[in-house]
Symmetry: C2
Subunit: 149 residues, 2 copies
């Protein structure tokens, strides 16, 4: 077996604990906020790409439509999101971030970046950026492989 | 906000989908095997560090002792693991991989590495190794931060 496969496996072995640790750090930062891990993820996606339908959000997050709908209902009730008519599908509404949602997300994300500044203090910007590129490439290749099966 | 925090965030944004994709690829590879994602993870840990107690495995995997116990019982029933007396704690037995467990893990892992060889074909061994080091550093720093809260 080549070194490349072993090196790729060494990357993947870090991913599960990193995912769990990062989620715990974000969740602790959200304590006392009305934003949850789920509504935070949906808000971020809507702010990145604009309004989306519930099925689109479900595919993006790899969770069920029902799970997305529950989070959307709650976040809409808090005024972070709003439901709009969809010009292309009469029955599939568009979910959009509100100005209030954007302000809440920006506040939370500013604190996350301040925490990351400390967490990553011993790492260089260049090596972090290179690592993100490698992960994006692996992600794309794995997704392609899954789509092909 | 500095570029370092943004770059660290770019890494973390890849982690959740990468975790999900990698788990799906491993799970598909295990179809038809009697090894599950859970027993595969426990076998790997035991083969890496030697016999462990159920509570030790639960901490390592960040799951409940009950969840580990269920997987251990099932994998022991299949002859992949065995339960041994613990010389240090009369009531907390040690879980150990059997020769059969090692053979099954090695088979599965050989196929995983062959798949990764294709998935990572466009990446260099050095950049993969550098990425794994960056992730390990982030993991350690996040864990320290969590232990401190």
């Amino acid at each position: 077996m080549t070194g490349r496969a072993e090196a790729a496996y060494a990357v993947l072995r870090q991913v599960r604990p990193l995912h769990q640790h990062a989620a715990r750090v974000v969740a602790e930062d959200l304590r006392g906020e009305r934003l949850t891990l789920g509504s935070r993820a949906i808000l971020e996606r809507l702010l990145d790409v604009g309004p989306q339908t519930v099925p689109e959000l479900a595919v993006w997050l790899s969770v069920s439509r029902q799970a997305v709908q529950r989070v959307v209902d709650e976040a809409a009730g808090l005024g972070f999101l709003e439901v709009r008519p969809n010009p292309r599908h009469r029955r599939s509404h568009l979910i959009a971030a509100t100005d209030r949602g954007r302000r809440v997300f920006d506040d939370v994300h500013r604190r996350e970046l301040a925490a990351l500044e400390e967490v990553a203090a011993d790492l260089g910007t260049d090596e972090l950026a290179a690592c993100a590129r490698v992960l994006a490439e692996l992600n794309g290749a794995l997704r392609e492989r899954l789509d092909g099966t």
